[in-house]
Amino acid sequence: MFENRKLEILTLIGLFAFVILFMIISSQSGHAFSGSDDVGSEKIAELTGKPVESFTPLIPQYVPPSGEIESTLFALQATFGGVVVGLVIGYWYGQKKRPIGS
């Protein structure tokens, strides 16, 4: 029955393992789950011996004023992608069900 669904099952197992892994790690204390970009920036500060704040943008840039606004923009980015994927897959699916000209 599941002969043709190997890849789906494998993906689900992978996702499941990923969640379990996250639960194990987050149950241990001392993990902030901050972005690796920020951790990388801290490492740069450590290597150069200069505080993180001393790295000012070379080109002035817009910074989202809060985490809320940042998450909205990230959600918009993912939504845009999701809409395109859904639209195209749906379009193809419709095409396949009723070929043009029939």
Partner: protein
């Protein structure tokens, strides 16, 4: 994987921009050629690009106790080759630099070299290597996506190590420090990305096998044998 604005000396910003620009120019030229040739490819281009948008917006937790995001460039590089992928990656990175303060305009070149050019290029190499072997095409897609993802972060580590060699141990020491931060975090994420993109590729193949064949991503025989083992109802031979 983003190098934050201001965190790269301007000399290095120039170097990476200079490497990135030719890819961008070639990509735009190839895109125009593709559009003129056949509008049929446009939806697939949309899906490939959309996955870069979706996956690079998802910050996922990882084993190192920090978060990182997948890149999603594997699909695009297989279907449309590295140059066009560089353009799509550029658009995503520009969006994040302008609106999200993730990366910046000065470091955009460096971030392009890692996410939009270097990672996809190595992924493309893996694809070329596995393409004409009996390896199952879903395994190929998995490897391409996972490798493109992880290599992106290896390159970021390398870029930062070049710019910030450690006082003791130099470039090698700081490379391993950045490698732990970026690449180790990325290992589980790249496995997940590989699985997800392989699954997506399966659905694309089921709906539009002719498109994948026309682009020459995989041969007719490979597609047919993959479909024979992965579809519920056997396809009618035309």
């Amino acid at each position: 994987m983003h190098i934050m604005e201001g965190f790269l000396p301007w000399q290095w910003c120039v170097v990476w921009w200079l490497i990135a620009i030719p890819f961008l120019v070639m990509g735009v030229m190839e895109l125009r050629l593709l559009m003129r040739k056949d509008r049929e490819y446009l939806p697939l281009l949309g899906v490939s690009g959309a996955f870069i948008f979706i996956l690079s917006a998802l910050k996922l937790p990882s084993v190192t106790g920090s978060c990182s995001h997948p890149t999603g460039t594997g699909l695009s590089v297989m279907c449309f080759k590295p140059y066009i992928t560089a353009v799509i990656g550029f658009i995503v990175l520009l969006f994040q630099a302008l609106l999200l303060a993730h990366g910046g305009l000065s470091t955009l070149g460096a971030n392009m070299v890692s996410m939009a050019i270097g990672g996809p290029l190595v992924g493309y190499g893996v694809y070329k290597l596995l393409k004409n072997t009996p390896v199952n095409i879903y395994v190929t897609v998995f490897c391409v996506a996972a490798v493109a993802d992880i290599v992106t972060y290896v390159i970021t580590s390398f870029e930062l190590a070049l710019a910030y060699p450690a006082a003791v141990g130099g470039i090698v020491a700081s490379f391993s420090a950045f490698f732990v931060i970026f690449a180790i975090t990325q290992i589980p994420l790249s496995i997940i990305e590989g699985l997800v993109l392989a699954l997506v590729f399966k659905y694309i193949l089921q709906l539009k096998p002719d498109l994948i064949e026309k682009l020459g991503v995989f041969s007719k025989q490979q597609i047919e044998s993959a479909l024979a083992t992965s579809t519920d109802v056997p396809e009618k031979k035309v």
